[in-house]
């Protein structure tokens, strides 16, 4: 089955080994990129093939070498956006579909878990195992928050609620965080104890 976005479609595949994946990518006539090759271990092999335009004749392939750890890579797309975001291992990679190049790479402090798009603020929350990074679609990390192993993150109005495996839940005042103007390292939001 295909996933449609803008005028393109995506096909997702999983491969038994790296050789199969590389051979498949080599057949993508519009080019290909291989991500995660710097991984300490390569356990799972995934591809996303973008069929460009409604004709779908030109294929651009993106391969991911995953460390495994029981986790599956995730791709985030946005209508009318010429970028795709891939979350895997301990990083997020933005791919520009116009140049067919890596637009940015964001290393994470821990294993990637999920994307939480905030379209009205032009942000994507990147949830990793022990924290969150607020990322623009242009690849700028606006703020970050690290705590403990996260079990759930939810957004309600202007508050971001975190539940943890071993710590009490908290929320962050999201509106306060996006208006910070200090340097990145100083933008880390103060945590607020969750009031029942």
């Amino acid at each position: 089955m295909n996933i449609a976005f803008a005028e393109h479609t995506i096909e997702l595949h999983t491969w038994e080994n790296k050789g199969q994946m590389v051979n498949f990518l080599a057949q993508c006539e519009a080019g290909n990129l291989l991500l995660g090759e710097n991984s300490e271990q390569e356990r799972q092999f995934h591809t996303a093939v973008i069929r460009l335009g409604t004709a779908g004749l030109a294929q651009f392939g993106i391969g991911i070498c995953s460390q495994g750890h029981g986790l599956t890579p995730t791709v985030l797309l946005r209508p009318n956006e010429s970028k795709l975001l891939f979350g895997f291992n301990s990083e997020v990679v933005g791919i520009d579909l116009v140049s067919k190049q890596i637009a940015f790479t964001l290393p994470l402090d821990a294993l990637f878990h999920a994307f939480l798009p905030l379209d009205d603020q032009n942000l994507v929350l990147v949830v990793h195992e022990i924290g969150t990074v607020a990322l623009t679609w242009q690849g700028e990390a606006v703020w970050q928050f690290d705590e403990d192993i996260i079990t759930n993150v939810t957004l309600e109005k202007d508050r971001l609620y975190f539940e943890f495996m071993d710590s009490s839940p908290i929320y962050l005042n999201f509106a306060d965080m996006v208006t910070k103007t200090n340097a990145f390292a100083e933008r880390r939001p103060a945590k607020v104890a969750l009031v029942a």
Partner: protein, 94 residues
């Protein structure tokens, strides 16, 4: 680490994957393994030569080898002071 995590699909899958890796090197979820892991992490924390990096938030990433009867895994751990936050296992087979 022993397959008993709850809370989210990712946490559950991570935990089960770590247990599979431990089983491949000969460790199972029993009291002996728990005691051995406790000892391993105590030694990891107290070894000043195993620091891989210090993160921007001051947390320390350490790495150490855990040997079992059937092989070994490298365990990369993240510490906040003496508190173990999380870990990744490398090796142990697929």
């Amino acid at each position: 680490m022993l397959g008993k995590a709850t809370g989210s699909l990712q946490n559950i899958q991570r935990s089960q994957d770590m247990l599979r890796n431990l089983q491949r090197i000969g460790f199972y979820d029993d009291s002996d393994t728990r005691a051995l892991l406790e000892d391993h992490f105590t030694q990891t924390l107290n070894n000043s030569t195993n620091i891989l990096k210090i993160q921007d938030d001051g947390r320390i990433v350490r790495e150490a080898l855990l040997m079992g009867p059937l092989g070994g895994v490298k365990i990369e751990t993240i510490w906040d002071g003496d508190r173990l936050i999380t870990m990744k296992l490398f090796g142990g087979g697929r």
